[in-house]
Symmetry: C2
Subunit: 442 residues, 2 copies
């Protein structure tokens, strides 16, 4: 067995590809985002490639972009993650299934129940990506006049997390007896209704689902702001970071692990997965050409839409060929906005250039090249405290997945930095994470 630090991979699969023009790429499935049969194929291939998990992002609304961009976006129709993942659980055996669910727009009893059910159906493969939701259109679909303010969202998120984990612990692991002789089905001495009364939630009764196979489904977070990082360092076991350079990734990695340690956690029990957009070519030039071809399909209006989301204001009003103007404090994702503002200043970019940059793959970390170049880069990140694995974003489907699994995975295995079979039975076991104790037991 290799003693080298091992790479782990999540697959960012909702939307099916992060690239706004993946659906137009030659031979790609243009309905990749919305065709269940395709999703089966993707999941089974990723499992063959020994990925730790499939990750489904989520928004409870259309994305907030101008019509010119919206009509070009494959995200307008997609399958709800907690409906799609149970279906994929039935046709896979090992791969983890991580769904995003918003603490701002979901009641904790529903979250706890659905993830616990998914964990049982998949025999221990569920994960919850805890998000607090920043898209203002979501609020309008739930009777609120505007997005909940950033700090309040995190307060609510923390309490929701607290209630959900209490609900998962409602039943002790050995509470379900099913004794056909005595007729006693469950030991009520091992039942612990949360009786929670907090600032945002009052939840009296126990969950009507047995304790999850994993104890708790895996806790995933992607907080980037101060409040978000602190929350992630306290509760997350997997963190998705948006770092696009080695140095920002190292800063994030050090920060989040030291916060976890300061909070009294074992920092090894918090895995950091930067999002990573991978294009494999037989040569660097071929990989770059694929990217160029993809980006060339991006309509400028789509870039403006993404830019508006990232900045939290309507960028279409700016002078396309001028520099980025000052932007007032908004409710948008803080770190993402700052990164763009800094980049625009440093590189003297015009609004148009910024829009083109984010319009394709949202300006995330990219690894383009031959398998050996990409393997080198991944090893470098892994061994320089920048990450514990990557959340892979595929450029188009199914070819992006097939290339990764057929070409890159064997190379990483050859180098001894990637598993040749799943180590355990559950998502936690494969990631080397402990099963949480029930908080109501000693």
């Amino acid at each position: 067995m290799s003693t080298k630090k091992q790479l782990h991979f999540g697959a960012f699969m909702r939307p099916a590809s992060i690239h706004s023009c993946s659906w137009r790429y030659p031979d790609a499935f243009s309905d990749a985002n919305f065709n269940f049969k395709h999703h089966i194929r993707f999941a089974q291939t990723l499992e063959k490639g020994l990925f730790d998990a499939i990750f489904m992002a989520d928004h409870v609304s259309l994305l907030n972009m101008p019509d010119e961009a919206l009509k070009r976006s494959a995200t307008v129709v997609s399958l709800e993650p907690l409906t799609l993942l149970p279906a994929l659980a039935a046709v896979t055996e090992h791969i983890g299934l991580i769904a995003t669910a918003s603490t701002t727009y979901n009641q904790p009893y529903h979250i706890a129940r659905k993830f616990a059910s998914l964990d049982h159906i998949s025999e221990g493969r569920a994960g919850w990506n805890v998000v607090t939701s920043s898209n203002p259109l979501e609020a309008l679909n739930f009777g609120l006049p505007e997005a909940v303010e950033h700090d309040e969202r995190y307060k609510r998120g923390r309490e929701c997390y607290e209630v959900v984990t209490k609900l998962w612990d409602s039943w002790e692991d050995d509470a379900i007896l099913r004794n056909t002789e005595t007729g006693i089905f469950a030991d009520l001495d091992k039942l612990h209704p949360p009786k929670h009364k907090g600032e945002f939630y009052a939840v009296e009764g126990a969950l009507n689902v047995a304790r999850p196979v994993q104890g708790w489904p895996l806790i995933v977070q992607a907080g980037a702001s101060e409040a978000g990082r602190q929350f992630a360092s306290e509760v997350a076991e997997m963190v998705f970071s948006a770092a696009s350079t080695l140095s920002t990734a190292q800063e994030y990695y050090a920060d989040i692990k030291s916060r976890a340690k300061a909070y009294g956690r074992n920092p090894d029990h918090l895995k950091v997965f930067p999002g990573c957009f991978v294009i494999i070519g037989d040569t660097l030039e071929e990989a770059k050409n694929k990217k160029r071809q993809l980006d060339s399909m991006v309509d400028p209006s789509t870039g403006m839409g993404s830019l508006s989301i990232l900045l939290g204001c309507d960028a279409s009003k700016f002078d396309l060929d001028g520099p980025l103007p000052e932007i007032p404090e908004t409710n948008a994702v803080k770190s993402g906005r700052q990164k763009l503002v800094d980049m625009a200043k440093e590189d003297n970019m015009t609004v148009r250039e910024l829009a083109q940059y984010v319009g394709g793959s949202y300006g995330c970390l990219e690894m383009l090249g031959t398998v050996s170049m990409i393997a080198d880069q991944m090893e470098e990140w892994l061994n320089s405290n920048a990450c514990d694995g990557f959340n892979i974003m595929f450029p188009y489907l199914p070819q992006g997945i097939d290339d990764f699994v057929d070409k890159l995975v064997p190379e990483l295995q050859r180098r001894g930095v990637y598993r040749t079979s799943y180590e355990g039975n559950t998502l936690r076991e494969n990631l080397g994470l402990p099963r949480p104790k029930n908080q109501y037991c000693d």
Copy 2:
């Protein structure tokens, strides 16, 4: 092709059996309610038996029964319906998938999204059982001090239904273009955000799921009160009735169909399915013995629990060997309570006798006997305007399903009153129901 009126079957599968002691029956799966592998076997056998649909009841809490009954109940742990059904969609091809979702404890945007996603994943097999939820423990899990009052529940239910159906119509059927040449993914002229502002809900934006395969998933209801019957007659396409005698079933059937007609609907587009508990024997005596064996396992405390639910008050305080005392007006299911009160009066039943009656299979319609006796009885109901089909409750699993599919189904086919293959591709097509037009189109 037979010109006889045809039987249709739903399978009542959550809890896996309605009978409180099914899990203790010899050779039955004691974990039928909570083992996904078993659910696959059940679903595939039901599909072999050409059932129209699997039906999953739901409550967002433990059931409200005293601890003595609760600890004997297999319902304490079960899988959430909208998590379980997508998983079953992946391993079946024809059978309909009906999940219960409460309009009192779910936001319409979530309901619309999940059922639309299930309809796409299953290629047109989803159905929504619209319930308003009467269990007071559910309220306590969602921050409410007590159950919402009956009339208010139905007002909210109607508005929720209205918003959900608007959301399903957000996109016209041909709105998704996916034109890889022009880069236009969706035709926004065919997008209709509901912009709903009502008494209970404000929902501005469109659904981020394409229009369901069936237009709308099948609408199912089980209203029994005045408000419930009227709602069902206006919107339901399948109604679950709780009639336990031919005459009450005929009354219900005539009433609900004439209400539908008065409302301007084609009464054939509303199918009535009484719940029906079936035990098959080689002889009548054998079937009766199976029932006796099952009921003999019922602890009196379990009967008291069910009785308390049905009456909406704690029956354990009553004198076990006295008559049923006067019961104050409660928030419980009105019709169910009245039926018991009337029965107790008519037959001079004690509280103990009532408890034993409901403790096993909740006093629902029972058909016990040989296949030919049961086939006779089903034909009689079908041909005397008492039903369009039955929602079958199995006494224990898997034997109850196997007996039904292997023995009763061939007999019904021989008589020409049951299909020998599925007629269509969707749940609606198999039931002979039309696909709803989009309300935003002419």
